[in-house]
């Protein structure tokens, strides 16, 4: 009998060891919101013309989430994820942030930090130089804001790290229409960006739409909800033309979430693959406006209403599905992507524009307000063409993060990724639910990643100046991301 008991225990332990890769460790969770509202006045980015904001209509925030598992009281796996109310985050700034965090937390693997931009078009410039011709006086300078941005987010990461404690997580999926396809196809084969549809020549919306609202909910040891992630396939540009600082629809989303779930809930906004999407409607706008006005809501409040409803639906369904020991793995790599080839024609057109713009600015410096950014945009194409002479197969190294958290996958990319690519990843992913997160770092001020269909159609977002990486590189990104996700489910 004693022998049988020992045999049973040994057998049981053997089964547990076999299953170890399938079981997770206790998850530790820390969260912190930090204010990154700039000192005014400041230049805001997102349009070709220079805009100086003298008013902050809403605060801008960076929202930090730290996830950790441990073995023998040492970090086994880590993810530090920061959602930022900005248009883009230059890759060099992310490196600076990592250095800053490492100085404060020497034991942290800072390669496991990633930041995403919500793509609000009413936030400060972050590219160190060359985006706009900003006055040197009377306006907060770019380098001042960059320093502030790094300091604030470093503090947020340190605080989130130091406050982490045992917790649990659940995931949910619902739906809300917050993003509409903005690329319009016409009968002659061309496309427009945010162009008219009330035309005889209008044929179709060029690409997909993605109405998934993916949510993650995080509770502390006491069962209090401390953070959530909301994934939406719509960039934050409902009020993108204003001369003001504004977090766009994420502000009313966060306000609404805190009202319902608690003032201390840290809300991360992740924008899914949405390069060809935006919150503005391209048809039946009058009918949509009427319904919104009958509800007495502004357009941003309406977007927030839809998103919050979807989050609530998910929360109600999954709140009893908390997991304290989810499988947690975080893979980071540099993925080489083939750059889109600049043709001689592209180069000649761009060069002609640049020369003409330089002359106009030289004749009238005020012309820089409307021309400087567009000139720099096309000048980048000129430089790419010149680089191609010595590098006939130019490649861009993109930092790619793929995370498994229980049944869900999180995967990042640095672009305004067209929705078709995101849907390809989600469709092929082995995960139950896949969060695609775009704009996690940007070369310069960011770049769209269009489909083949879009390149044929042309127009802003698919022309050569808009796109460092073309459809070929997009497919490499999709295939590698899917392979990595599959690898995290291999056991």
């Amino acid at each position: 009998m004693a022998f049988a008991k020992k045999y049973f225990i040994a057998f049981f332990l053997w089964i547990v060891l076999l299953c170890q890769p399938l079981l997770g460790s206790q998850i530790y969770i820390g969260a912190q919101s930090v204010d990154i509202t700039p000192e005014l006045p400041i230049a805001v980015t997102g349009q070709f013309h220079l805009r100086i904001a003298e008013e902050a209509e809403t605060p801008l925030t960076a929202n930090v989430l730290v996830l950790e598992t441990k073995t023998d009281n040492q970090t086994e796996e880590l993810a530090v994820m920061v959602s930022c109310d900005v248009l883009y985050i230059p890759t060099d700034l992310i490196q600076q942030l990592r250095v800053s965090v490492k100085q404060r937390l020497p034991g942290m693997d800072v390669s496991k930090i990633f930041l995403n931009a919500t793509h609000t078009h009413t936030a400060p410039v972050l590219a160190e130089e060359g985006e706009y011709w900003i006055p040197k006086e009377g306006v907060t300078q770019v380098n001042q804001y960059r320093k502030f941005f790094v300091e604030r987010i470093t503090n947020g990461i340190v605080n989130a790290w130091n406050s982490r404690e045992e917790g649990s997580v659940a995931w949910g999926l619902s739906y809300a229409v917050a993003g509409y396809n903005r690329r319009i196809s016409y009968s002659d084969g061309t496309s427009g960006m945010s162009s008219k549809t009330k035309l005889r020549e209008f044929r179709k919306l060029e690409g997909s739409e993605d109405h998934d609202i993916n949510s993650l909910f995080f509770w502390n040891k006491s069962g209090k909800l401390i953070s959530m992630v909301i994934g939406v396939a719509s960039p934050s540009q409902e009020v993108g033309g204003r001369h003001a600082v504004n977090a766009d629809y994420w502000h009313p989303v966060r306000e609404g979430i805190r009202e319902k779930f608690g003032e201390e809930v840290c809300v991360l906004g992740w924008i899914a693959a949405a390069g060809d999407l935006m919150p503005h409607l391209r048809y039946r706008k009058a009918a949509d406006d009427r319904m919104r006005e009958l509800r007495n809501l502004s357009r941003m409040e309406e977007l927030a209403r839809r998103i919050i409803l979807a989050v609530e639906e998910s929360y109600d369904a999954v709140k009893t599905e908390k997991e304290a020991t989810p499988v947690f793995k975080h893979h980071v790599e540099m993925l080489p992507l083939p750059e889109r080839w600049v043709t001689e024609r592209d180069y000649l057109d761009a060069n002609a524009f640049v020369m003409d713009a330089k002359k106009q600015i030289a004749d009238d410096p005020k012309a820089s307000d409307r021309l400087y950014r567009r000139m720099k945009w096309q000048e980048a194409t000129v430089k790419r063409y010149q680089k191609q002479k010595d590098h006939p197969n130019p490649m861009y190294d993109m930092e790619l993060h793929v995370i498994r958290l229980g049944d869900i996958a999180i995967c990042t990319n640095e672009f305004e990724l067209f929705s078709d690519f995101g849907i390809r990843i989600m469709a092929r992913s082995k995960a139950l639910q896949t969060f695609v997160v775009q704009l996690t770092g940007s070369p310069d001020w960011g770049s769209y990643l269009p489909t083949t269909k879009a390149v044929h159609g042309g127009a802003y977002s698919a022309v050569i100046h808009s796109t460092l990486i073309g459809p070929e590189g997009g497919q490499v990104l999709v295939d590698r991301t899917v392979d990595l996700i599959e690898g995290l489910w291999a056991d």
Binding site: T197, R203, K204, L205, R282, Y283, R284
Partner: protein, 154 residues
């Protein structure tokens, strides 16, 4: 407004004719399958007959009944097909109505596929699935929009 209009039919190619004839005859010539797969036989037989008709009627047309009904600020418009969404969106985008209801399958059906769908192929975009093709779909859209906008011409 109610109107009967003619839409250009989707033309059957020689290759499609021979394929449909082969598929039809394989079932038809088997006693068991001739009964069990009678719907499939009819599916292919229609294409065979359409091709044969084309020999004497080079521009065959397909008659459809369309309704456009104004009710205040909204319009309701119908079509008899399983209409691909792009056509519906075209109508809605070009309609003068504040809100446009599109009502499909007001009639016998068959898919009405886009050019892109035809290039992709497969059920719903193959010739067997479509009496009317993208060309006819565009005629339907343009005519429907014209009918709708006439209801707002005052």
């Amino acid at each position: 407004i109610v109107q009967d209009i003619d839409l250009p039919m989707r033309m059957v190619t020689h290759e499609e004719y021979h394929h449909s004839k082969k598929m039809r005859d394989e079932d038809l010539n088997d006693k068991v399958r001739a009964v069990e797969f009678s719907r499939r036989i009819a599916f292919y037989d229609e294409v065979v007959k359409r091709f044969e008709t084309q020999q004497s009627v080079p521009n065959p047309m397909y008659p459809v009944e369309i309704h456009a009904l104004r009710l205040g600020d909204v319009v309701i418009c119908t079509n008899p097909f399983e209409m691909f969404t792009d056509f519906g969106i075209q109508i809605k985008a070009r309609s003068e109505a504040m809100q446009t209801f599109i009502l499909q399958l007001v009639g016998p059906g068959t898919y009405l596929a886009t050019e892109e769908a035809l290039k992709g192929g497969h059920y719903s975009a193959i010739v067997e699935s479509n009496r009317v093709g993208p060309e006819g779909g565009q005629v339907l859209v343009d005519h429907t929009v014209k009918m709708i906008n006439e209801l707002w011409s005052d």
